[in-house]
């Protein structure tokens, strides 16, 4: 399946793009997506362990299985307020 990933803040700056598409096998988990994203954008490595992944506007655990059509976002820890 093809998933569109939105990138924000320092993740966007390091990847030099606000969105990208990743090709993932059916049954791929959030952990798989994280690995694939870091492979595609090695410059995200410094953020690696702190990189948050959200699916359909919710924070998700690493073992969650992704579905085609999900809105996936990737960003560093938030700092609003």
């Amino acid at each position: 399946m093809t998933l569109t990933i939105l990138l924000f803040a320092q993740a966007k700056d390091l990847a030099e793009t606000a969105r990208c598409e990743l090709e993932l096998p059916a049954g791929a988990t959030v952990a798989d997506l994280r690995e694939s994203l870091l492979a595609r954008f090695p410059r995200l490595q410094p953020l690696s362990s702190r990189l948050l992944i959200a699916v359909n506007s919710e924070y998700v655990a690493e073992h969650v299985v992704l579905s085609p059509g999900s809105e996936v976002a990737c960003f560093p820890p938030v700092s609003g307020g």
């Binding site: 924000f8 700056d13 976002a73 960003f75 938030v78 700092s79 609003g80």
Partner: protein
């Protein structure tokens, strides 16, 4: 009511909207752009957001707070874009029957907001550098 805006925040309008005859207490928390952070001087802040998710998380935050405390009316507004020194970045206004729950709820709302709502700020330091803040 929750809102993201690129305009200056009208906190008085929020306070007026949350006032109620059922309330003995109204609490307003404002976050403002501070000049000095750990000895470094800021000129301005730029706030970026993932607006769709930010709204979902803000609504969840409101729902959780309403479950825990007898909040009567609540408004949370966060400003995005370029903010100068002293500008208001966030306004949290709400009313409650009694004062004690107001302080508890207020502290919870701002603490949780800063953990879960996908908004990021970038420091414009006085030395000309820019830096994303990741607390």
């Amino acid at each position: 009511m929750i809102q993201l805006t690129h305009e200056p925040i009208d906190y008085q309008a929020s306070v007026e909207r949350v006032r109620s005859h059922s309330a003995g207490a109204v609490l307003l928390f404002l976050g403002t752009v501070r000049e000095m952070t750990q000895g470094r001087q800021t000129l301005a802040l730029d706030y970026d957001a993932y607006p769709e998710m930010a709204k979902v998380q803000m609504q969840k935050l409101e729902a959780i707070a309403r479950e825990r405390w007898p909040i009567i009316e609540l408004e949370i507004v966060h400003r995005l874009g370029h903010l100068e020194l002293g500008d208001i970045s966030i306004s949290i206004a709400f009313s409650s029957p009694h004062r004690r729950e107001a302080f508890e709820a207020g502290q919870f709302l701002i603490d949780e907001f800063k953990k879960v709502v996908p908004i990021w700020k970038q420091e414009n330091w006085s030395d000309g550098t820019k830096e994303w803040v990741h607390q």
